[in-house]
């Protein structure tokens, strides 16, 4: 095949990490993490459907420090994937595709994710 000896594109570690590439792979990473977390959601709903004992048993794991860490990671990932997903939907409309606007929207996504995650955690903490 004529394609065999063609030069390869540089490998990933050659490139300097940029906001755009980091956000892109984080979108995919959070997507995979959230897909796995969807199975935890299924477990939580099944526990509720199976009565107070099963629910109380599961809740000891959720309220434990590792459960809270996973829950926090889920909330953070959900907000990131949500905000960056809206960015993708705007791109799909053909808007904001130039480099300058892409960077501005990228920083907005980072700021919004941090603010929403902290705000949700504070409001939920207060209402308990």
């Amino acid at each position: 095949m004529a394609t065999d000896n063609r030069p390869l594109s540089p490998h990933l570690q050659i490139y300097k990490p940029q906001l755009t590439s980091i956000l892109s792979i984080t979108h995919r990473g959070t997507g995979v993490f959230l897909s796995i977390s969807a199975l935890f959601l299924c477990c939580w709903l099944l526990a509720i459907a199976n009565g107070p004992d099963v629910y109380a048993n599961l809740q000891t794991y959720i309220t434990a420090w590792y459960g809270q860490v996973i829950l926090f990671a889920c909330v953070f990932s959900l907000y990131f994937h949500l905000c960056n997903g809206i960015r993708h939907l705007i791109w799909d409309m053909g808007l904001g595709l130039d480099i300058k606007t892409t960077y501005i929207s990228g920083y907005i996504v980072v700021a919004a994710t941090v603010l929403l995650t902290v705000a949700t955690w504070c409001i939920a903490g207060v209402s308990v």
């Binding site: 004529a2 897909s35 969807a38 959601l41 099944l46 629910y55 109380a56 993708h88 939920a124």
Partner: protein
């Protein structure tokens, strides 16, 4: 050995004639998930700290169970579509690729359906 270039062999084969449905479904579920996720995140963080009776009372509200089922459907559909693209991008072996996608479909369908039935069971007070 063929003297034709790979580009020449590809030209004329046309498009794959699929993919639009997948792309569109991913966007449609994404749009649906925007308001549903905002509602769900807050509910999740609050509800995981609540007692059993509070959670079941919350789920027995028709609007809550409707939103939950809509959220479950959009979430598992969106997750299946997204994970399929990830598998297609990174799994090289055709056998492993198709095997993983079939397994993914089964797992997501099973977990999604189990979640909906769990919500219905609590909603109906069974």
């Amino acid at each position: 050995m063929s003297l034709r270039t790979p580009l020449h062999r590809v030209r004329g084969l046309g498009s794959a004639k699929e993919g639009t449905q997948h792309w569109w479904a991913q966007r449609l579920t994404a749009i649906a998930l925007v308001p549903l996720t905002v509602w769900f995140i807050y509910s999740l963080v609050v509800m995981t700290t609540m007692e059993y009776a509070t959670v079941t009372a919350w789920m027995q509200s028709p609007i809550v169970s409707t939103l939950l089922i809509l959220f479950i459907f959009s979430l598992f559909y969106h997750a299946q579509l997204g994970m399929q693209v990830v598998i297609e991008d990174y799994v090289d072996s055709e056998t492993l690729k198709f095997g993983s996608i079939i397994l993914l479909n089964f797992v997501m369908l099973f977990a999604g359906l189990a979640s909906v039935i769990a919500v219905l069971k609590v909603f109906l007070g069974l």
